[in-house]
């Protein structure tokens, strides 16, 4: 049994909130760099160049890459041999409060979905915990903007819809989203599970670097095909037209019921943020 102080969680979450909002992950940077060079359509190339400049400027001036510094989604992989000394969830919320305050990040959370009063400190965090073997605690902060979140969709398809049904659903989602989610986009796709589980799969898929294919060759192939189909739509950066509509996508799957084929698409943007620390 290993003991981790709640204060250490707070400190790590605060730091990760600022880091994630200021520096994009290496895989997203690499994809932007590749596409700004490869894009054939002039306005699209120019636009990708500006998005690149923005990313660099944020890095140099320690400013948030995007003003929507998001809802603080915190994913915890908690070793089952870890004992947390103190209140686990409260420690994470406190980390968000400190990170968003000290980092001059935007406070975008309302405490109630209908009465809509801003909590003024971006809490609460959206916490997802998974128990894993071992005595480590891995924290990932993935701030999520809602311009793209609002374009996400869930479909309870029929088994007969098959892989074509899944492809059509994903492409339709991108088409409906159009210019709203600040393309070039990044997609997390969940297939299988249940009504609630499939959404978690889609969200979790966004944590996987986009240069890392699904370990199952069947799904790695499906990822490739979907990416090619999306980038043939012509939406382009910011929806101005062009080749680069999607920087990358990840599929996660789970066993499902004989009668169902759930599919969920979590839409994210070129400001797909995640920062990880291990305690």
């Amino acid at each position: 049994m290993r003991t981790i102080q709640a204060a250490a969680l707070t400190e790590a979450v605060a730091r990760l909130c600022i880091q994630a909002n200021t520096y994009l992950p290496a895989d997203i940077v690499a994809a932007l760099d590749r596409q700004r060079k490869a894009e054939p359509w002039p306005l699209a190339k120019e636009t990708l160049g500006l998005l690149w400049d923005n990313m660099k400027l944020a890095e140099q001036t320690h400013m948030p890459v995007c003003q929507d510094t998001g809802m603080a989604c915190v994913f915890v992989e908690l070793g089952q041999d870890v004992h947390i000394e103190g209140d686990f969830e409260a420690a994470i919320h406190e980390g968000v409060r400190q990170g968003y305050g000290e980092g001059y990040l935007r406070k975008s959370i309302v405490g109630d979905p209908l009465r809509r009063v801003n909590t003024e400190d971006n809490t609460p965090a959206a916490i997802t915990v998974r128990l894993v073997p071992g005595d480590r605690c891995t924290l990932t902060v993935a701030p999520k903007g809602f311009g793209s979140e609002n374009m996400s969709r869930l479909g309870m398809l029929k088994p007969a819809d098959g892989v074509e049904g899944v492809k059509n659903f994903v492409i339709e989602t991108v088409r409906l989203a159009g210019s709203n989610p600040c393309p070039p986009i990044v997609l997390g796709i969940g297939i299988g599970g249940s009504f609630d589980k499939v959404v978690y799969l889609a969200k979790h898929a966004l944590l996987r670097p986009i240069d890392q294919p699904n370990p199952d060759p069947y799904y790695a192939q499906l990822e490739q095909e979907l990416l090619a189909s999306i980038n043939a739509l012509g939406v382009g950066p910011q929806g101005f037209g062009g080749q680069t509509t999607c920087l990358g996508l990840s599929i996660e799957t789970a066993p499902t019921h004989v009668a169902g084929l759930p599919v969920a698409v979590n839409v994210s943007c070129h400001v797909t943020r995640r920062a990880t620390a291990e305690l």
């Binding site: 359509w41 400013m63 948030p64 935007r106 406070k107 903007g145 159009g178 600040c182 070129h270």
Partner: protein
């Protein structure tokens, strides 16, 4: 084409602009998002004056991050404009000339743009740090209780924007992708 414009603008200033053109905008720009638009409507309904002059004005849909000491503004990219669709036609009919945001607008907004000789310009979505560089001065002019949604008076210099909806019915979100796809076909053919 690239145009340089300074606010307040006239119908004549905007007439040459076509979807896909770029604009470097200077002068005063007011910020307002959902909550501020709702309050603008309440003032109009009550017959009260608005907090800023609408004639020839530019409204930027943005909720910036807090400015650090010594900064004029924090990150300041656009929010999704569609949420303002319910309010924009009324403001355009009353004199607003430029809307700045990102993403699709509905038919009522497109009609109001044409009817009033206005324009809808896109700022770069997700390029908050870059957009902030064009803001030279910031002053909160009302509804401070709305936090990042409070109405701010910005003075901007060469704010880089792209024309989405023009006064002649053009829409870059339709014509841009169509032109790109047509270029592929002509290559193949």
């Amino acid at each position: 084409m690239q145009y340089k414009l300074t606010t307040p603008v006239t119908r004549e200033d905007l007439a040459p602009l076509r979807a896909g053109d770029t604009v470097l905008l200077s002068g005063v720009v007011y910020t307002a998002r959902d909550a501020a638009h709702k309050r603008l409507m309440e003032r109009l309904d009550a017959g009260e004056p608005l907090p800023f002059p609408l004639e020839g004005s530019a409204i930027y849909y943005v909720g910036p991050t807090p400015e650090k000491p010594g900064q004029v503004i924090g990150s300041a990219g656009p929010t999704t404009s569609g949420r303002m669709d319910a309010y924009s036609p009324r403001l355009l009919d009353l004199g607003q000339s430029i809307m700045i945001g990102k993403g699709k607008r509905n038919q009522a907004v497109k009609d109001a743009v044409v009817r009033n000789g206005a324009v809808y310009l896109a700022a770069l979505g997700g390029a908050g740090a870059l957009m902030a560089g064009s803001v030279k001065k910031l002053e909160i002019i009302c509804w401070e209780d709305l936090g990042c949604e409070a109405v701010r008076r910005l003075e901007v210099k060469d704010f880089p924007l792209t024309v989405i909806l023009d006064a002649h019915g053009g829409d870059l979100y339709e014509s841009g992708p169509a032109a790109y796809l047509a270029s592929l076909e002509s290559k193949e053919g």
